[in-house]
Structure formats: C-alpha cells, structure tokens
C-alpha cells in the first residue's frame, strides 16, 4: 500500500495550488482526481478573472484571500509561464442614484486593501472604454483586476508540482476514507483512502473536492456542510470582437452574483455571462434559451453593439456553494483531515492564498515543515503561436518544423503544440482544447477534429475508436466501418 504524508483530493485550481505550495517541503504528496484529466470539474468553466477584491465583505475570509491571491498569483504566473494580463475592471453604474453604491463598494474594497481604486466619470469612460453604453454615468475602476487562462494555470501548477515530487492520479475517485483511530498525528499513517482501483495511506487528507467536497467530507465523518451547485451559463464570442472592450465590465452586483459581465479572456475571445441559478444536479451543465436571453440583455446594456451573431461557443459551469464564505479548516474531530470547501468565486484568484492558508493550518496541527534543498519554482513557458509575434514564429519554426504544421486553422494551433499538450498529460480532445485552443474557434473543430483524433490515438497507441472527448463513455466515434 502506498503511503504519503499528504493526500490532496481534487485536481482543480485549489487542489493543484495546494499541491504546488506543499511541494516546496519535504513531504510525500499525492493528488487524486476522479475525472480523466485535471481541471475537468469546477475549474474548467472558470471565467479566468483575477479579481481585485472589490465586491466582498471586508470581514470575509474570501475577501482577504482574494486580495492576497491577486498579489500572489502574478509571481506564480511568471514562474510558470502563464500569461497574466492586468486589464483592470470597471463596475458600471447606469443611474446617478447608483453612484453611492459605487462609493460604498470603494470603501469596503479599501478596507480589504484593494489598491488604486477610483471613481471614473463619462469623459474617462468614453476615452478608455469607447464602446461602453452612453447610458453609463460612472464606474468604479479597479486597475489590479486581471485575466489568465484558468486551465493552463491548473495544468502548469500541476506539472510544476509533479516536477517537485507530487504524484498525480487521475481517474481516482475516492470512495472511502477511514481514519485509523488514535495513532496520533506525529506517528503512523492515519488514514486509509480508497479509490476503485487502489488504496492509499496518509497522515493528512486535504479535501479540495469542489462540487463533491461535502460527499468527500462525509466519507471522513464530517457532515456539517452541504454543497449546492449554482449554475452559470457563459457565452464566448468570436475573437474578431476582442476590440470591443478594454477592461472587465461588471454591473452593480446583486445578492447572489456579480451580475452579467463582459469578460476579456487570455485568448482574446470576449466572454459574456454568467447566469446564476441554484439547483441540485451536480452533473447538469446544460445551457438554456432563457440563459442566453438573460446574458444578452445584461451585456447589451453595457456594450450595445454585442450581438448573438458573434457567439461561437457556450457552456455552463457549476459553482460549489456552501454558504456565504469559503470553508477552510482543520476538522478537530477527525485529526489530520482538512476541508477546503465552498470555493466558489473568487476561488481562482484566491487559490495561491488558500494554499498558504492550508499550509498555516497544517503547521498549527504540528506537521513538521522543512523546505527541500531544491525546489524547482519555474517551468519553461509553453509556446502558443497565437500568442507570439510573427517575428518570433519565424525563428522558432526554423528550429522546429512541426511548429509550422498548422492543425487547427481557426486558432492557429500547430502539430507541435498538440504534441506538446499530449506529452504534458492531455489524454482527451477536451484536454487538448483546454491546453491549446485547438477546436475552440469559429469552426468548432469541423476541420481539425479528425487530425487531432489521429494524433492522439497515435500517441496513446490505441485505435481511433478509443479516443474520447472527456473520458470513458465519451468516445468520439462508435466503431470502424464495416463491423457489426
């Protein structure tokens, strides 16, 4: 039986951020993910916003961790070669009566330590956000808001954690957690953690189970919170519309959500949404006609020239809601068990700060933390042709011809990039899409799916019929021709 100091359950942004942070120390760590690939749960539908901390209660844990995470994530992005762009955000008021609410948000954000806030007026807005509706009367400007690719952050943090010794197991859904009584934290293995194929032992278990964090917690005997999925539908526009906004645009927030936003993304395509709808089904990620109507109405209030005709893709994600704040705590009743649950927005931003928070909790419980003599804090930046100037492409393609072999024409993704994604762990078409953007453009894979299918089957040494979109049961083609 494999034994670890720490098992992290959940391979989303929270689990991988914790894994990378803990991999600085002399600890044996495993990360277990139930899906076929990392970032296939809550993280895959994250909008990629690095929030400045403007819309949170000054007393909340998530407010504190958001502001801290906004500072920390820049360094992580730099070290891992993830593109981070500080684009800034505008929270827009459309009536003079709403201006006091902006002032209130500014004051609260100021208490949390959000820097450089200012109220801007129509003259500023026309100059710096020219396509914004002329109805806008003022906005709260938070220049420290930024964007990055949420999946690439997860994959790159995981890759870096693995480089530093973390063992990652995908397709390992935890089915049993047995605390083995009173062995004591300093001593022998304390937990047995079972998946359908393997049983592990660990002194500590960290539950970053996202939508299923309550079920994981219940396996360990802690039943006192419930995750309720809150669905958000998002719609992605053609890259041609990138010029329509320069900042992240927010309306004034409502009780349950930040409203319908116009989001800039790391890849250039504007994204609009999300809706916010509470439900029970943790698998239901269907979009709806009603969601589209809501989103369009909200967006056109801000950018009147955005239209449904510009939509090239859409999806829904589920936020793991457990009350108003994050739940991050050591469960005294089950010594060694740490819950990191209810990590909805701003979970991506907060992830690095959550990791440090968890580290502090582990230290408090008496886990000895000794830094490794060598920690690899960097990884080479992954090349994306769409993200580099042609002069650089010219140099690179001479060295590596496969970079000049374009597979995905809409997003300009080369054979080399797809091969690289597979080498770094992609095993599905969605995994390749999230890492490279191949199949994510305006033709939606109409032209390139066949070739990617073949590249993946080749790399895995399996028949084409075994290649999946997102894991077992989602095979792309049913069978070869002429078979019964």
């Amino acid at each position: 039986m494999k034994t670890y100091d720490i098992i992290i359950i959940g391979g989303g942004v929270v689990g991988t951020a914790i894994a990378r942070e803990l991999s600085r120390y002399r600890l044996n760590i495993a990360l277990l993910e139930k899906e076929e690939e990392l970032a296939f749960g809550v993280s895959k539908s994250n909008s990629g916003i690095i929030h400045p901390g403007t819309q949170m209660s000054p007393r909340s844990l998530k407010g504190k961790l958001c502001v801290e995470g906004n500072r920390l994530i820049r360094r992580i992005a730099r070290e891992l070669g993830v593109d981070f762009k500080e684009v800034g955000e505008l929270i827009v008021a459309f009536r003079e009566e709403e201006v006091p609410q902006l002032l209130d948000l500014k004051e609260k954000a100021g208490l949390l330590g959000v820097p450089k806030l200012k109220i801007v007026r129509p003259a500023w807005l026309r100059k710096y956000e020219p396509h914004l509706s002329r109805e806008a009367v003022a906005a709260l400007y938070a220049p420290t808001a930024g964007i990055l690719s949420p999946y690439r952050l997860v994959y790159d943090m995981a890759e870096n954690a693995a480089k530093n010794g973390v063992e990652i197991y995908t397709r390992h859904q935890v089915t049993r957690i047995t605390p083995s009584g009173n062995a004591g934290l300093g001593g022998k293995p304390f937990f047995e953690v079972a998946t359908p194929t393997q049983t592990f032992q660990a002194r500590y278990v960290i539950n970053a189970g996202g939508l299923f964090a309550d079920e994981v917690s219940a396996l360990a005997g802690v039943h006192d919170f419930k995750i309720r999925p809150r669905k958000g539908e998002e719609f992605i526009l053609d890259k041609k519309k990138e010029h329509l906004t320069r900042h992240l645009l927010f309306p004034l927030p409502s009780k349950t959500s930040k409203g319908i936003l116009v989001i800039k993304t790391a890849d250039g395509n504007p994204m609009i949404g999300p809706t916010a709808e509470d439900g029970d089904d943790r698998e239901d990620v269907a979009t709806s006609d009603e969601g589209l109507r809501q989103v369009l109405a909200g967006v056109q209030r801000m950018i009147p020239s955005m239209s449904a005709d510009d939509i090239i893709a859409y999806f829904a994600g589920l936020r793991p809601v457990a009350g108003d704040d994050f739940i991050i705590r050591h469960e005294a009743r089950v010594p060694g068990f740490v819950n990191v649950a209810g990590i909805q927005s701003p979970g991506l931003t907060a992830a690095p700060a959550i990791a440090l928070w968890v580290l502090r909790i582990l230290k408090e419980t008496g886990l000895p933390l000794k830094k490794k003599s060598v920690f690899h804090n960097k990884r080479p930046k992954t090349i994306h042709l769409f993200g580099i100037p042609l002069s650089e492409t010219e140099k690179l393609v001479k060295k590596d011809p496969a970079l000049g072999d374009i597979v995905c024409r809409c997003e300009m993704v080369s054979f080399k990039e797809i091969q690289g994604a597979i080498e770094r762990g992609a095993t599905t078409l969605d995994g390749i899409k999230f890492r490279t953007r191949a199949q994510a453009g305006r033709c939606h894979g109409g032209f390139c799916t066949t070739r990617i299918l073949k590249i993946l089957a080749d790399a895995q040494g399996v028949p084409l019929t075994r290649v999946t979109k997102k894991g077992a049961g989602s095979e792309i083609v049913k069978e070869e021709r002429g078979h019964d």
């Binding site: 041609k240 698998e283 239901d284 990620v285 269907a286 979009t287 709806s288 006609d289 969601g291 589209l292 449904a308 005709d309 939509i311 090239i312 893709a313 859409y314 999806f315 042609l390 492409t393 010219e394 393609v397 001479k398 011809p401 496969a402 000049g404 072999d405 374009i406 024409r409 300009m412 305006r442 033709c443 939606h444 894979g445 109409g446 032209f447 799916t449 066949t450 299918l453 073949k454 084409l464 019929t465 999946t468 979109k469 997102k470 894991g471 077992a472 049961g473 989602s474 095979e475 792309i476 083609v477 049913k478 069978e479 070869e480 021709r481 002429g482 078979h483």
Partner: protein
C-alpha cells in the same frame, strides 16, 4: 520578400479552375497555396456522384471531378503548387505571410485570388440549448470520418437542418448500417437540392420534420436524446408540441459560411450578414487586384458553377496584370 505575379490561396475546385484559367489567359508566374497536404479541397470527401454534369457533361464523383483539374494543372509548369502552406497574414498591399513546416515566408503578389471556400455553421451559431457531450458533428466532419477515415461516428442519428451535406450524409449513414431517425428542418421545405431530397431521404423513408427545431440536447458523456419542438410561422417554439428522439449522434447541417477572415484582415469590405466581400461584380472586392472566387465569394449549390465562375476570376486577374493570352 518573394515577389510573384499571381498568388492563389486555396487548392480546391475554385483555386484550381482560377489557376488554369489565369495561365490560359497569359499569366506565367502563378503560385497556388494550399494548407492541406492534398489538392482538391472538400471534393476529396464527396465520394457520391452528381458532379460534372454541366462542366464536363459527365457524371463524376467528387474525387474524380477534382482529379481532372489536378491533372490539368500538373501539365502546366508555370503553376507552382505549395502544399501545407498556411496563410497567417494578408495586407491590403497583397503581402502574404505564409507558414509552412520549417519556414515562415513573406510573399508580395501583384494580383491575388482568394479561393478559401467555406466552413459549416455550427450548433453554437444557431444556439441549440442543452449539454455538450460527444456525438455532435457537423455533417461535413461526419462525412470526412466515414469516407476518408473509415470510421462510423454513430448508429442512431438525428440530423438537424436539411442542407445538401446533411441529406447526403443521411443516405451515407443508412448505407453504413446506421439508423437515421429524423431530419429536423425549421423551414417549411428543404434547403437542399430536390434531387438530394428524393435520392437520399425519400428513397430511404427517412422522416423529415419540417417547421421543427431542436429545443435541447441531452446527455452528459455521449448524446442520449434530443428534444424536438414544432415552431410557428415566426419560428417560435410551440412548447406543448415537444417530444424526444433518442440518438447517439447529432449531425448539424444548417448552412455554410464563406471563409473570408484573411481578406477581412487585409481591410476588404465584408458584408457582415453573409461574410462575403461587398462586391459590385462577380469575384470583385473593394481592393483592386484582390479577387475572391468560389464558395468564398458566395455559397454555390453546384461545383460546376464554381469552376465556371472561378475560371472567370483567373481571366479577371490576368487582365488586371496586363497579361495577353
């Protein structure tokens, strides 16, 4: 910077007809860029017959039709074909940046013919609600998987839209032993050719639901069923009429869009509704010396007409260059 008299982008039926015609009208320096590793474009996967009736007065398959042009071009040394060549940038001065395995080239053309074809509209463009499982294909992708790769995408098929590719694929799936459960068309009649409706749908007793649309796609990993709903004359759903059809595959055949992103980048005036160049005459654009032909200029029903009109583009380019036959 490499200088060329005429550069043609696209090696499908339009680009090949334009190249041959430009040569016949006196152009002696022709470079044809094709991003795939073969000439012929989409014809390569159209293994059904019905091509060439007007142009060659013969009934040919797609590959046979393309093969005639490939052969003709092969006999003309003044046409240089560059495969696996992907144009990444185009300027109004007809400067092209071309990416190939191993090299990025800059080419300045005196005249340019864009024969970039079209792409299929997707499920996302018509905003079909529901989940996003495996098993949803554009009709053209399914055609490529079956005809080129020898794979059967699925066995219980629903087709949304009655464009020609969808109709042809209905028959193709039946011939491969799959069940085609329904064709769903929001209009009150087919948007494909009548001969395709008769030969591919009626002859195989495939039910067509006119004035219906797909309300929702179901299934998490693989598509399991679609909800179908009748629409009124304003194309609005009539909720009480909703019913489900089980399937493991959904083909989307709801129309084609000309691929004109490159000339748009160069500053050619584009009609936003049709994604075609705003043109006063056949194959013309707002920039003198940049011509557009084939499905990039407008969506054609028949390849024969593409060949005819693209040959005209070759003549127009020759005239622009001052060439004499």
């Amino acid at each position: 910077m490499i200088k060329r008299d005429l550069v043609i982008v696209g090696g499908g039926p339009a680009g090949m007809a334009a190249a041959i015609s430009a040569y016949r009208h006196g152009v002696r320096d022709i470079l044809l860029l094709e991003r795939d590793q073969f000439l012929g474009g989409i014809l390569n996967q159209c293994i059904h017959t019905g091509f060439g009736l007007q142009y060659f007065k013969e009934i040919l398959t797609g590959p046979e039709y393309a093969g005639r042009f490939v052969k003709d071009m092969g006999g003309i040394p003044d046409i240089e074909v560059s495969l696996r060549s992907f144009v990444v940038r185009l300027t109004k001065d007809k400067e092209l940046t071309v990416l190939k395995p191993g090299v990025l080239e800059r080419i300045k053309a005196r005249a340019l013919i864009m024969a970039t074809g079209c792409r299929e509209k997707t499920r996302e463009m018509i905003h079909i609600a529901g989940s996003r499982p495996a098993g949803i294909f554009s009709a053209g992708l399914a055609q490529k998987l079956i005809n080129i790769e020898g794979l059967l995408p699925g066995k219980d098929v629903v087709i949304v839209g009655s464009g020609d590719i969808g109709l042809i694929m209905a028959r193709r799936f039946v011939l491969e032993g799959a069940a085609v459960k329904a064709v769903i068309e929001i209009q009150k009649e087919t948007r494909g050719l009548i001969r395709n409706l008769v030969q591919c749908i009626e002859d195989f007793n495939i039910p067509v639901y006119y004035r219906h649309k797909i309300a929702k796609i179901h299934g998490n990993r693989r598509i399991e069923k679609v909800s179908v709903v009748k629409v009124d004359e304003n194309l609005e759903a009539i909720p009480a009429s909703q019913f489900d059809i089980g399937c493991d595959t959904l083909l989307v055949s709801v129309g084609l869009i000309p691929e004109n992103e490159l000339i748009e980048m160069a500053g050619v005036a584009i009609d936003k509704k049709t994604n075609t160049p705003q043109a006063k005459a056949l194959n013309a654009t707002s920039i003198p010396g940049i011509f557009v032909c084939g499905n990039a200029f407008k969506i054609y029903d028949l390849v024969d007409a593409v060949s005819r009109d693209s040959a005209e583009a070759g003549r127009q380019a020759a005239k622009y260059l001052g060439a004499t036959p």
